[in-house]
Every structure is written in structure tokens, then in C-alpha cells.
């Protein structure tokens, strides 16, 4: 398995800087779980962040800050307890298909996910959505079938987790990330043999073209 299509370096740098919102970060972190090359690049970008912070001029801490910090360290305050990462609720019986951190956001591995109908045999699981915020969801496209035709207003990144799809003459296998912007009306088609499961993140709501998808889109909130 060799990954051919990666997130842009500029995404890795912004992930490292903490400037991507959670949905984009989820895709980068999930890709990094499967891609050593991007994992190494991301570590380098984080190291650049560490050097930039360390090289900057220091600002004096208040008097007694060290003692206050020790007290905090030993008695964490509720205000600042970092929210826990979503945890996987299922016990694992075999090597999971969904790597962390994605499995935590989905609530478990593929078995037992609550898939919702998208039309034309395709299903989805919403992971993150909010007004104006980037949306993340899992897609399941039946083997040999197209994703309901769609365009979008902003950027869409789609990462393959199981199976493969082809789009515009390119093949995307496990770990590959396809970037599609608003200019592209694309038509991914799952390869025969196995359902294709993807993590898809978009800037703006998708505009599905199929009749069924257009009829239900206002109601299912994707």
C-alpha cells in the first residue's frame, strides 16, 4: 500500500500551527496515522513552531508564578481541564479500519456505526457540522457505484479508508486524499469488489445534483 495523494504541505503547516479548525485537523491527523511521510513533515513543522516560540523575546512572568503553577499542576482547576478527546466506546476485536483519532469521533470502528441514507445506495455518518463551520463525515459508496454527483462552494478533501475510488482518471486508494475545489464538478466512482469508505471534509455544504439527493438535502443537513 503506497499513498500517492497527500494533503498539501500548507495544510500540514497550518495543522502544526493550530490554525486549522477541528474538521480539517481531524483529516490531517487521520492521514498522518497512515502516512509516515506526512507524519514526519508535521513533526518538522511542529519543531519549527517550537523554535519560533523559543527564539521569541520572553515576557516576564508574575511574581510567584512558579509556585502558583506547581499548585495548579498538583490540583487541576476545572476551568482549564482540557476537554477529553472523544473516546472509542467499542472494545477492539481485530485491527480496526478507522485509525485514531477518527475512530473516537465516529464512536467506534466500522461495525456498529449508524449509517444514514444518502441515496443511490450511498450512506453517510455525520461527524462534525455546525453553521458555517467545516463539515466532516464518513461516506460509504457501494462497490462499483458513483458518489451522488455533486459540486461544492469551497474546498473538499476526501480521504479513502477502505476500498478505492477513481475520479478524473486518477485512482485513490487507502490513505490517499483527493482535493476538490469549487471549480470542479467531480464524479468519484467506487472500484468494484468492496464498498469504498471515505472521510470527507468540506468548507461549505455540498450541492448534490441527483434528484433524490436534492430532494432530501434540505432535511438531512449535509
Amino acid at each position: 500500500m503506497s499513498i500517492q495523494y497527500h494533503p498539501d504541505d500548507d495544510h500540514l503547516v497550518r495543522y502544526a500551527a493550530g490554525e486549522l479548525s477541528e474538521a480539517w485537523s481531524l483529516l490531517v491527523a487521520t492521514h498522518n496515522a497512515l502516512c509516515l511521510s506526512c507524519r514526519t513533515k508535521t513533526r518538522l513543522a511542529e519543531a519549527v513552531g517550537g523554535v519560533l516560540v523559543t527564539d521569541a523575546a520572553p515576557t516576564e512572568m508574575s511574581v510567584g508564578a512558579l509556585e502558583a503553577t506547581m499548585a495548579r499542576a498538583l490540583n487541576p482547576q476545572d476551568d482549564f481541564v482540557v476537554r477529553p478527546e472523544p473516546a472509542s466506546v467499542q472494545a477492539l476485536t481485530a485491527k480496526p479500519v478507522l485509525p485514531q483519532p477518527l475512530r473516537g469521533y465516529a464512536g467506534g470502528d466500522l461495525q456498529g456505526l449508524r449509517w444514514r441514507r444518502l441515496g443511490r445506495g450511498a450512506y453517510y455518518v455525520p461527524l462534525m457540522s455546525g453553521r458555517g463551520a467545516p463539515t466532516a463525515r464518513l461516506l460509504r459508496i457501494p462497490a462499483g457505484r458513483p458518489v451522488p454527483e455533486h459540486g461544492h462552494k469551497g474546498l473538499e478533501l476526501t480521504m479513502v479508508l477502505q476500498g478505492a475510488f477513481t475520479d478524473g482518471g486518477k485512482r485513490f486508494g487507502v490513505g490517499d486524499v483527493e482535493a476538490a475545489d469549487s471549480d470542479l464538478e467531480h464524479q468519484p466512482v467506487a472500484e468494484p469488489g468492496e464498498d469504498c469508505i471515505c472521510l470527507a471534509v468540506t468548507d461549505a455544504p455540498l450541492r448534490f445534483r441527483g434528484l433524490f439527493a436534492r430532494m432530501v438535502q434540505p432535511f438531512i443537513g449535509i
Binding site: 498539501d8 504541505d9 500548507d10 500540514l12 503547516v13 497550518r14 500551527a17 493550530g18 490554525e19 479548525s21 477541528e22 485537523s25 481531524l26 487521520t30 498522518n32 496515522a33 497512515l34 502516512c35 509516515l36 507524519r39 514526519t40 513533526r43 518538522l44 511542529e46 519543531a47 519549527v48 513552531g49 517550537g50 523554535v51 519560533l52 516560540v53 523559543t54 527564539d55 521569541a56 523575546a57 520572553p58 515576557t59 516576564e60 512572568m61 508574575s62 508564578a65 512558579l66 502558583a68 503553577t69 506547581m70 495548579r72 499542576a73 487541576p76 482549564f80 482540557v82 476537554r83 478527546e85 477492539l92 485491527k95 480496526p96 479500519v97 485509525p99 485514531q100 483519532p101 475512530r103
Partner: protein
């Protein structure tokens, strides 16, 4: 060292302050701070921060005090640059260092320098405090993870990412390339905002980030 700066102080701050919604920050500007930057440290002269951080995992308070003295004031500057006022920055710096104490057992010196790890702790705390979001990260113990390189090869990677090499590589970047990297890490600006701040097209922001990062990677590989 940086002698001239292409963008004016006034052009940087308003967008940031408006976007952060975190109240008024002091009129301190990081572009001025750059001129106070310390000269490159000789790695042989500076304390071994990585070992000190490992000692913190064994509840070594003296090691923590040394790390605190060096890193807390820098984490505070980081928070100030990202729009905290002085009181918030102090609070966040203390909390970040408290998290360093609590999580030090997760630090792996083969994978990251102490400065890198402390930066990521501070970054994640900032995202949680300001955006109420998580920063999703891979789990090194996940069975679905594609395994790391063997340790010997990874040690080379760790050495390549040595802080002093990166420091030198940053100094060799063009001013424009350094600028977009600093804005990415320090100004909580989107690409669009950076584009407006520097008055360059959006595509140029992205390509400068790619070029700057690519040059750093090349420089570190050449120095192997």
C-alpha cells in the same frame, strides 16, 4: 538577525484583535520583539532541555523549575501574540506549564525536542481555551497506526529536527518566507487574513508557506 521589516506595525494588529474578540491587548507588537531576539544559542552551552523534561516525568521539581524559568516567559509571549491580554497570557502560560508537569510522562525524546513538545502543549491549550475545540492527534499506541520507522532511522529524523538546525534554517529563509511562517504560527490569521495583511494574493500566501517549509526541509536534509 533580521534588520529590516517589510510590513508596518500598524498593518498587522487590527485584523488580529478584531478577529480574536479577546479584548484589548497591550500595544506590544511581535515585529518589534524580533529585534530583541536572542542570538543563536550554542547547543553545547544551553541546558539539555530534553533530559530535563524527561526528569520532570519522575516528579523532579528542580528540573521543572529550570524548564519553567526558560519556557514559561516564552509561552506567555506566544499567548500575547495570539491576542491574549496580559492576565490571560499569564494564566495560559501557567496552565500550559502545569500541563507540562502533568503530561511529562508522555514525552518521548526520540520523537521530539522539548521545545517542540512544550509548543504543542501550549498550542492545544490555546485552541481549547479560545475556540472550545480539540486538536485531533494520532494515537501512537493505536493498532491501526502505520508503525514508526525503526528507532535508529527515527533518531536521525530527531537529530535533523534539532532546534538549533531549525533556528539556522529559519535565519536563511528570505524575509517574505519567514514572514508567512511567523504569521501562520503567531497571528491566528487565516490565509485570507494573511493575504490582506501582507497585501498579496491568496495563492501567493499558500505558495510562500510551501516554499518556506520546503526550504527548511531541504536545508535540514543537506546538513545530515
Amino acid at each position: 538577525m533580521i534588520s529590516t521589516l517589510a510590513i508596518s506595525q500598524a498593518s498587522v494588529t487590527p485584523t488580529l484583535r478584531a478577529a480574536s474578540g479577546l479584548g484589548q491587548s497591550p500595544q506590544r507588537d511581535w515585529l518589534n520583539d524580533l529585534q530583541d531576539e536572542e542570538p543563536p544559542r550554542d547547543p553545547d552551552q544551553s541546558p539539555d532541555w530534553n533530559s530535563l523534561l524527561c526528569s520532570v516525568a519522575t516528579q523532579d521539581r528542580a528540573a521543572f523549575a529550570s524548564l519553567f524559568t526558560h519556557f514559561a516567559p516564552r509561552v506567555k509571549s506566544y499567548m500575547l501574540r495570539l491576542g491574549s491580554d496580559a492576565a490571560q497570557a499569564e494564566e495560559l502560560a501557567q496552565e500550559a506549564m502545569a500541563a507540562v508537569w502533568r503530561k511529562a510522562d508522555r514525552y518521548d525524546p526520540e520523537r521530539a525536542a522539548a521545545s517542540t513538545w512544550i509548543f504543542t502543549v501550549a498550542r492545544n491549550l490555546r485552541i481549547d481555551a479560545f475556540r472550545r475545540q480539540n486538536h485531533p492527534e494520532l494515537d501512537p499506541n493505536d493498532p491501526a497506526l502505520v508503525p514508526e520507522l525503526p528507532v535508529s532511522a527515527d533518531l536521525i529524523v530527531a537529530r535533523k529536527q534539532d532546534a538549533s538546525l531549525i533556528h539556522k534554517a529559519l535565519a536563511e529563509l528570505s524575509q517574505e518566507q519567514r514572514e508567512v511562517l511567523r504569521l501562520s504560527f503567531f497571528d491566528d490569521q487565516t490565509h485570507m487574513q494573511i493575504s490582506e495583511t501582507l497585501d498579496i494574493p491568496l495563492g501567493t500566501v499558500k505558495s510562500r508557506i510551501r516554499l518556506a517549509f520546503g526550504r527548511i526541509r531541504t536545508m535540514l536534509e543537506d546538513k545530515e
